[in-house]
């Protein structure tokens, strides 16, 4: 599974970081940064939570 982030949609809410610390971080402007494009299985639930909760619909988890 691969994580896709559209950084120009991001509104810096930090919800993704709360949901999956090992996969997302924020830069100084708050814009999300992808730490791990292909997260380990144990992090996938957190990523799914981030996809669902991101207020900008900026994150996708794609099957590849």
């Amino acid at each position: 599974m691969k994580v896709e982030l559209e950084a120009d949609k991001c509104v810096a809410s930090g919800q993704c970081v709360l949901a999956a610390m090992d996969v997302f971080d924020q830069d100084d402007d708050g814009i999300a940064v992808l730490l791990d494009e292909r997260p380990a299985d144990e992090n996938l639930d957190g990523v799914r939570e981030a996809v669902a909760i991101c207020p900008a619909a900026a994150i996708r988890l794609v099957d590849q």
């Binding site: 810096a12 402007d29 708050g30 909760i53 900008a56």
Partner: protein
């Protein structure tokens, strides 16, 4: 449960529908929305979309493939007109009815209007496109209400070269929500950018040529935007027996009745973290509450109280405003970092003896996380504010 109906096809409703599927619900899932469009996002309406930076397609919350993957019985462009809990059916505007075993209400809010005719409101993509067509250099725009929505629209209209008058009944914008000091800072920000902000004025009527004030003065404009708050979309629930009072009244599990939950802007629920009932019109809350309501509906035996720290952001001019917690009705504000006048600061809000909220401008969000944490764990005001003084 074999039949779940979600009414309201926007942020909260979509989050609920997705959560149901993610949690393994494989029965019929009906999503009803009165707007004809696939679920789209609202915050950009007063920002990138109004500014002409984004076109409508960018606002789609999901791709057609993602939506198709949810295997929805999707009813768009048709409103729910009634709820009959005794028959466990929802009535729709096209004359049909949908039976349910579980129901999630996510019908959001609509703008409050003022007496008179003409003028704009800003809630839907249609509203935003209509207003956007009218904004051009030299056009005169009056914005009634200097809340976050009015403030954002004023900022965008200035950037587009409009002459903007912003009318606000309170002495400074948003004082009741964020306190006088932040309100004064917003006042300065508007005036610096050439917005004619007039506080302490009451608009009584929108006319074809502007607005009428309580003292009789006519403020002329080419376009008027009314941004004076909103009302929960609960009319369709009249006669349903559900308790409605500034929103669908829910318990701490987002439950409104047996097998009926509510989420998002329309829901007034008891937030145990703050020990009070609240209705939150924030984008992140819509998704979080949609998820929580879906889980509790699906697994009543394992339901969890919905006890979030609300989060809100607003973009105005070059400022990003971020706020955590529940700021309304606070007893005290302390600036714990930076300087409000420089528009780089963290202000924290005391309610009773605890930290209830934090608002920041121009501060890396990472530095806000510990304040979010302090709110989430109910840290005492004295401890939090003193620790902070030492840390700085």
């Amino acid at each position: 449960m074999r039949r779940i109906v979600v009414v309201g096809a926007s942020a909260a409703g979509l989050a609920a529908a997705e959560t149901l599927r993610r949690e393994g619900y494989d029965g019929t899932l009906t999503l009803v929305g009165d707007e004809p469009l696939a679920p789209y996002d609202r915050p950009p309406l007063s920002k990138q979309l109004l500014a002409g930076e984004w076109e409508p397609g960018r606002l789609d919350l999901r791709t057609p493939d993602d939506l198709a993957g949810l295997d929805l019985d999707l009813r768009l462009g048709v409103p729910a007109t009634g709820l009959r809990p005794a028959d466990t059916e929802v009535d729709l505007g096209d004359g049909s009815s949908v039976p349910y075993d579980g129901l999630i209400i996510a019908t959001g809010v609509r703008p409050r209007r003022l007496p008179g005719a003409g003028g704009h409101v800003l809630r839907t993509l249609d509203d935003a496109m209509r207003l956007r067509e009218r904004l051009a250099p030299g056009r005169r725009l009056v914005v009634v209400g200097a809340g976050f929505l009015g403030g954002e629209a004023a900022a965008v209209a200035r950037r587009l070269g409009c002459e903007v008058t912003l009318l606000e009944p309170a002495p400074v914008p948003l004082a009741h929500a964020v306190g006088a000091r932040v309100g004064e800072m917003l006042t300065d920000a508007h005036r610096e950018r050439g917005v004619d902000l007039r506080c302490g004025v009451t608009v009584t009527e929108v006319t074809g040529h502007g607005v009428r004030l309580a003292d009789g003065e006519l403020v002329e404009a080419d376009e008027v935007l009314t941004a004076v708050g909103s009302m929960p979309n609960t009319d369709w629930l009249v006669g349903s027996g559900l308790t409605v009072g500034d929103g669908v009244v829910c318990d701490e599990y987002c439950g409104a009745a047996r097998d009926v939950c509510a989420a998002g802007d329309v829901a007034r629920w008891f937030n145990p973290l703050f020990g009070r009932s609240m209705r939150i019109e924030h984008r992140t809350n819509a998704a979080e509450q949609g998820m929580a309501a879906a889980r509790n509906l699906l697994r009543p035996e394992a339901r969890k109280p919905f006890a979030p720290v609300p989060y809100f952001w607003s973009d105005q001019y070059d400022m990003k405003i971020q706020a955590y917690g529940y700021l309304r009705g606070h007893d005290e504000v302390a600036v714990v970092e930076g300087d409000v006048a420089e528009r780089r600061f963290v202000a924290v809000y005391r309610t009773g003896d605890r930290v209830a909220g934090a608002l920041a401008v121009g501060v890396p969000p990472r530095e806000l996380r510990r304040w979010r944490q302090a709110i989430a764990t109910g840290v005492r005001w004295r401890e939090a504010v003193q620790i902070d003084a030492v840390a700085n």
